[in-house]
Amino acid sequence: MSATTAHPPAATDLRPGAEVVLRALKDQGVDVIFGYPGGAVLPIYDALFQQNHIRHILVRHEQAAVHAAEGYARSTGKVGVVLVTSGPGATNAVTGLVDALMDSIPVVCLTGQVPTHLIGNDAFQEADTTGITRPATKHNYLVKRSEDLAGVMHDAFYVARSGRPGPVVVDLPKDILIKPAPYVEAPKPGTPHKSYRPRMEADRDAVLQAVRMLKRAERPVIYTGGGVINAGPEASRLLREFVRLTGMPCTSTLMGLGAFPHSDRQFLGMLGMHGTVEANLVMHGCDVMLNLGARFDDRVTGRLDAFSPNSKKIHADIDPSSINKNVKVDVALVGDAGLTIAALLEAWKADETPVAAPAQAQWWQQIEEWRAKDCLRYVQQGSIIKPQHAVKRLFEMTKATGRDTFISTEVGQHQMWAAQYFGFDEPNRWMTSGGLGTMGYGLPAAMGVQVAHPDALCIDIAGEASILMNIQEMGTLAQYRLPVKVFILNNEYMGMVRQWQELLHGSRYSESYSEALPDFVRLAEAFHARGLRAKTADELDGVIAEMLAHPGPVIADICVAKDENCFPMIPSGAAHNEMILGPGSEQNARSVTDEGMVLV
């Protein structure tokens, strides 16, 4: 920014601000933006109309624009871009921004603003967007001077994608979009930023210390998270190499699924509140834990004072504030997950200490015993469709198509069943709202994925309550012929709310019944999509097959068991070794403590 003021460009280089914005987007490699027009951003929409480099996807609600950009970003590794107007356009985007912040998704959101001379006057469609979004973003900017415009645009992209990625807002007053502004090129890659220079490579000594601990481990575990996905496909490749080389068991958070293949014997499944028995007991019983790009979230740790009580912990994270935030660790590796795994690999190969093979063999024997409990077992009998069975069949049948498949979810029981029963063998194929838990995320996210991958199979595994939170995006699917499949596990309840009410609130189902639902088949048809329904188990495969074969968007309304609960479950305030395994399991009798009741 200061560079532009130091070297004022010739007057001939000046272009209207809106054109400068679009040129910056183009130079940042942006090929698509998700947005919704309004008064304050009309100059950008006018400039968009007159160019062919950037495609605009018109959403039906600004929240959906951000989720679509998240889906786009998460499935491509690129920065997702959003364009909304001032006031309500910006405030509607806030939920999406916080979602991206919690899940570390790179998004640049351009918001219109009233002209600079009206800021603070309560003008029409004015909101204090930078004030409102300050805690909702990684960083935000209000451009008050035309000479800062291009520099801020480039800076926004740098901040969104560097270090721990996140959402960035650029608030653009209308006069800045109209007035002539100079263009400056983006800084060359590698140019040090004036103040934000995240550490990429972990401390060498810490890496060696970590490897020494891992080599001597008798009961090790590798626990990976979204950071490995964010570090790019190479990080996932290195993770596979490292896990196989070391022979250690590997588990993953919700956000990290796909970094290590679910079908590998060394993979224990997801850990945490609805994780597998083997994953959680391995975490509880390990003696050395290597956390790669996860943040010891409360859904993962359960009761903190009982979390993995006897282990040495190694934590690799690009964000130093994640270190020792929830769990005190013994070795911190601050840096990019991919570079950190590469360094660990190299150090592992160089360290000639033999691993504690007999102890590890015993550890694996123990793990296989836990795995033999088959904690995700369910029985599909009779005509009522079990939701687990629906996801399992969806997984098997999509796999059989051989098509590249991307899954998004809404939030609730269906999300956990999707995580448990849909196996991911590749990174970037799984989009879910992990940190914020945003109902209404899945449909727009799938839309963004489909825009980025027009030929891929994009499925939103949904619940009947969540899907209604952004159902208007069916219109966007129709407009752009995006063949997203919406697979609703319809149990006529906000299922996770109902489950908690059953387990913790004496089965008093306060306001959790989905009363007066629409007819999803006719709803699909009203939005120019195909509507399908499976009411009985013998209809399920046929509906899935028809959904997968249909070339356009589909809503498949799968009527599932209404009272099914999601297990295993670590109840609030409990530890990893205090899981509820299912109906009738002895842990069910254990009442949740008062401390547990206050937790969400």
Partner: protein, 167 residues
């Protein structure tokens, strides 16, 4: 174990940077015992924030890491941890008193090296510089003598010796 920490933060002097720092403290439930800010670089490009906070060691480590990851933050320095440092605060103190109380206030002000910067027949304004404890002690003495109003800057601090905090 709670401890107090005096943290110096060198930031880009741009709109909203103070709101970011304060929002971080309120949003994450950290304490602010005092906070001061002013531009410090010749060209006005950098500001220095001095924040006095308290918490467990884990919380203070978090505060520093959270501050450091704010985009416009250049440097974060825990002066309490990093060695000997000087802390100063300035206060303007109004005492309204007559008779013996007035004489006693003036006598104590002299003992504490507070300067009289305004006087009427029934009031004084004292200017006083020192660390927070000295100011607190003086204010405690003034209270029964007619302490009417106080304005304090909050602490500013700097490390002793040649070590300097720069961007």
């Amino acid at each position: 174990m709670q401890r107090s920490a005096t943290i110096a933060v060198l930031v880009e002097n741009e709109a909203g940077v103070l709101a970011r720092v304060i929002g971080l403290f309120s949003g994450r439930g950290y304490n602010i015992d005092s906070l001061t800010v002013a531009p410090v670089a010749e060209d006005g490009r950098l500001s220095r924030i001095t924040v006095v906070t308290s918490g467990t060691e884990m919380v203070i480590e978090q505060i520093k890491a959270q501050l450091d990851r704010l985009v416009p933050v250049h440097r974060v320095s825990d002066l309490t941890l990093e060695g000997p440092h000087l802390t100063r605060e300035l206060a303007l103190i109004k005492v309204v008193a007559k008779g013996d109380h007035r004489v006693e206030a003036l006598r104590l002000a002299d003992a504490f090296r507070a300067r009289v910067v305004d006087a009427t027949t029934e009031s004084f304004v004292f200017e006083m510089t020192g660390n927070a404890e000295k100011l607190d002690a003086f204010l405690a003495l003034m209270r029964p003598l007619g302490l009417a109003e106080v304005s304090r800057t909050g602490a500013v601090a700097i490390a002793r010796g040649s070590r300097a905090l720069a961007a």
